[in-house]
């Protein structure tokens, strides 16, 4: 696995996202078993409690949510836990965090999974309701269901 992890780190460091198939129920409903997740590069300094991250844990690659960040000993240490797990994972150094789970592919579309993405999802839900109201009022469909300029503004939140 070390070679794989090194390769993954190189891919992310080059600015590319990585895509994995998730297995298990520890992060349902945020990530459901069998769904593909998108991993993006992240700096240790950008990590926040609530982020869902991919770590090179002792048990293997794990995508769980950060519940604790500890810098009291000089270097960053990260503790994660699955949303449905009974116990937290073993604490790991910040360098074990390979990337942030930015989103999940679900039902033919992409959904953000991080705590910051929840605001994006709520904004998009509002825009979808606005779209439906416009369609009922004017009987005209917009591209991709959401006005393009509005979508761009929402994704930049």
């Amino acid at each position: 696995m070390t070679m794989f992890v090194n390769t993954l780190q190189d891919v992310l460091a080059s600015g590319f996202d990585a895509r994995f198939c998730a297995s298990g129920h520890s992060m349902t409903p945020t990530i459901r078993s069998g769904e593909f997740v998108r991993v993006t590069r992240c700096e240790e300094t950008s990590l926040r409690v609530g982020d869902v991250v991919l770590t090179a844990a002792p048990r293997g690659l794990t995508a769980h949510r950060i519940i604790e960040l500890d810098s009291s000993r000089g270097e960053l240490r990260v503790r994660t836990r699955g949303d449905n797990s009974l116990s937290a994972d073993a604490i790991v150094p910040g360098s074990a965090v390979l990337g942030r789970i930015a989103g999940v592919e679900r039902d033919g579309r992409y959904a953000a999974v991080d705590s910051r993405g929840a605001l994006t999802q709520q904004t998009l839900a509002v825009l979808r309701r606005v779209r439906h109201s416009l369609q009922r009022r004017f009987g005209r469909a917009t591209s991709n269901g959401i006005p393009e300029t509005a979508q761009v503004r929402a994704l930049s939140v």
Binding site: S23, G24, H25, P29, T30, S33, S85, R106, A118, Q121
Partner: protein
């Protein structure tokens, strides 16, 4: 508290049997009865007349977000359990859907009937009302009321039809053990993460569940339980007998009883003791190779 779903008239229904427990779901709207996951779908059955748990499924409305009763259990994750009059209220939360619960289950005091309410904006096209973790929480409560236990383990049905249960917490080697057994022919892995054990007609039986581990091993198969093995990874494979009290305590550490229900806890402890009295429970120090299969077949 009323759980009759006073304004919900079922449009369609579906039925499951998990651990031998019948669950009937009646949907107030066709949009609520979307397909079960492929894994859970293996536990779908024909209509049940005598379901252990009957649920109506409807949309969550503003009035359903009314004040809750006492918080009885905080899972630390997705779900929380509250008192709700004489019954219970399970709320499921996710940061993906904001602060309000995306799903609420209202149950009567005996967990035999209730309602599941789904938020319309919570990704319904891809969500089934019984999606994890609610299905497991409901089954755990049914089991704790005198029906059996759910264990953190890998259940293997050998080619002779006998069931062996390999128990351990995360990282102990359940999935690894399952993969070793799959190299043999005629093997059925009922789950590589969660297995139910019940006494059916005087025989301890092992049931598969939809809740699998990393290897995604799951089946609805059932087998008589002939041995329980508590996993410890080691340089060599060997079995060690355990005193019943020690075995019970170790098994308790791998169960999921309703901790907030003293009667369910008492039943679970008693049932685990019963398992240890009726079936050999041994410590299995193992290396992940065919020596595991040989040791179990030689001593089982």
């Amino acid at each position: 508290m009323s759980v009759a779903g006073e304004e919900a008239v079922a449009i369609s229904s579906s039925f499951l049997r998990i651990g031998g427990l019948g669950i009937a779901l009646h949907y107030a709207d066709d949009s609520l009865g979307r397909g079960l996951s492929a894994t859970t779908g293996r536990f779908a059955v024909s209509p049940i007349a005598d379901a252990d748990l009957t649920l109506t499924v409807d949309y969550l409305r503003e009035r359903d977000l009314a004040a809750r009763g006492e918080l009885l259990f905080e899972s630390g994750g997705v779900w929380r359990l509250y008192a709700d009059g004489d019954g219970y209220r399970i709320e499921c939360h996710s940061a993906m859907f904001g602060d309000a619960p995306y799903k609420i289950a209202l149950l009567n005091s005996s967990f035999t009937s209730g309602r599941i309410l789904l938020r319309a904006d919570a990704d319904l096209p891809t969500m089934h009302p019984l999606d994890y973790p609610l299905d497991e929480v409901l089954v755990a409560n049914l089991l704790g009321r005198g029906r059996g236990v759910e264990l953190h383990g890998c259940g293997v049905i050998d080619r002779d039809g006998r069931g062996h249960l390999f128990v351990g917490q995360s990282g102990a080697g359940k999935t690894t053990t399952g993969k070793v057994w799959l190299r043999e022919s005629g093997i059925d892995i009922v789950s590589d993460d969660r297995v139910i054990v019940r006494d059916v007609d005087g025989v301890l039986r092992m049931f598969g569940t939809p809740w699998h581990g990393e290897a995604e091993l799951s089946s609805a198969s059932i087998a008589p339980l002939v041995g329980v093995y508590i996993l410890r990874q080691a340089p060599l494979t060997e079995l060690e007998a355990l005193a019943p009290a020690t075995a019970s305590a170790m098994l308790f550490g791998c169960t999921f009883p309703p901790f907030y229900d003293p009667a369910a806890l008492a039943f679970t402890i008693e049932f685990l003791a019963d398992i240890c009295a009726r079936v050999p429970v041994r410590l299995l120090r193992f290396t992940p190779d065919e020596s595991v299969v040989a040791a179990v077949r030689r001593n089982g």
